[in-house]
Amino acid sequence: MSDEAAGPGVAIRVDGGSALVTLSGDWTLRIAAAAATPNPFADSNAWLDRQSLRAILFDAHGLGRWDSTLLLYLTRLRQLAAPRSIRFDDGGIPLAARRLLELLPDKTQAPAAATRRASLVERVGLAAVSIWTEAVAVTELLGWQVLKAGAAGVGRARMRGSDLIACLYDAGIAALPMVALVNVLVGGILAFVGAIELRRFGADIYIANLVGIAQVREMAAVMTAIVMAGRTGGAYAAEIASMQGSNELDALRVLGVPVQDYLILPRVLALTLMAPLLFLYASFVGIVGGFAVAVSMLNMSPAIFVAQIRDAVSMSQVGFGLTKSLFFGVLIAIAGCRIGLKAGRSSTDVGQAATQAVVVGIVGVIMLDAVFAVCANALNI
């Protein structure tokens, strides 16, 4: 056979009660896909409708190479022949193709019965029920963690000390560089942006107040929480979801080790303890960032900057920021762990859980921050 690719060819000769289908050329996907070759599937099948036709015979002497393209053509023909009670005589087809044809169903498969689509009312109801169950589950998890945190305080919780230390390290010390970078930049940016406006009023000196208050009241807590949601919340969800996938959680449950104590508690404790500490660190670093910009680029005196900060930032504001960061820590940890526990068992579920934990963490933090802002306004803090 020559290497020259010949397109698929089919010639049909109807002779009395039988039709002879002569197959020729190369029936391969690659060649059939080339536009220049005639498409055998496009040919009219009108000849099949002749009343007298009783059998289809094949002649494949001229057939070159073939692959599933040929099988597709033959099965279509067979499917068309069956309802017309025309005999499909595969004797002329190469043996290998005949064997493959035997594996394929004669009839087109009836499409699977479509699953009934729930009505709108039904869907709203189901969604409400699932939101309610989820709320109950999260509340239960939160309550359990609060109870067990007390138990852990007196050394009666079923968790390993080494796990808690690893979690503390991971949520604390390991997060320092990223928290520092983000907050230094935020502090610097606040100083820059503030300076442009304040200078118009000759109030440059208040740059320090702006940086201090913004950082301590809002930015340090929120920016740190966002970093932690991305870093730690996502990691918690992924870790727990992958343990789910490899049956590690089942192995704990069979032993009667409560997963909430053993896996969740060290994570929630670590993030809850570390978030306020990170907040203090972030506030300080952010003010340093503002200080650097104010002193080096805006020609402010260092002594005045420090004096203004001391004047502007009161303990009540630090306390407000600390409280917020504590709640953010609990929120991120509970969200990450709950989403991990709820995840399915496949490897894509791990990625989904991580993404979902990050999204829920960040959105949750900002929503909670808004609630805090409203409360603070009402309470005049």
């Binding site: 079923r158 390993r160 796990d163 690893a166 992958s242 343990m243 490899s246 049956n247 590690e248 089942d250 192995a251 704990l252 449950r253 069979v254 032993l255 009667g256 080790v257």
Partner: protein, 254 residues
Amino acid sequence: MEGFHTASTLHVRGLSVGYGGEPVQHDVSFDVKQGSIFAIMGGSGCGKSTLLKALIGLLRPSAGTVHFGGQDYWSMDEPHREDFGRRIGVLFQGGALWSSMTAAENVALPLQMFSRLSEDSIEALVQLKLALVGLDSGWKSLPADLSGGMRQRVGLARALSLDPEILFLDEPSAGLDPVAARRFDDLILELRDGFGVTVVMVSHELESLLAICDDGVFLDAATRTVIAHGAPKALLDNSDHPAVHAFMTRGAAP
């Protein structure tokens, strides 16, 4: 059979299991004799692992009872159930080792949690268990650094850590090469002979089933219940049920 060993017999009656909706298996009944190696057989997707979950307390069955000795597991209160959970050992598919712990720590954890032994005794016991399953190196390795066969052995050592009365194995030789699978079978036999522990294994590895199991049930995916009782060897020789015959002879014509 009275006293200490009564819990090592398992009686299952009319059990239906599934995840909501239609049960995957229904009306499953069988008895596991003490010291036997009992096989739960059947093709892929017939509900073997789901049934196992109901036996080890991970999935509440929709009907039926699971008696360990005299009591029904699922009608006991929570503390009793947990207590029974510690009298069984489970080897999950692929070992399911806790990935943040070394092999030795995996075996030690149940002992640390549920025994009053000193750290020294626990360490000695862990070494004993790991030596028993034939793991002579890699005790300080994390599961990710162990081979599949070694993970399986550590998993077995962990399942044995609290000296269970019944050992449940989920696809113990899946994913092992033929030699490792054979060695693992031998190990299970030796442990049964040595400790007198009752073994319930879920498997579709024909060679393992024929080599070590002395009793069993065959679950059918089509009828969703037990269609044959008996040792795999006996089923191979005698069963005239087409599904069982096809399974036992790897689909050879009857």
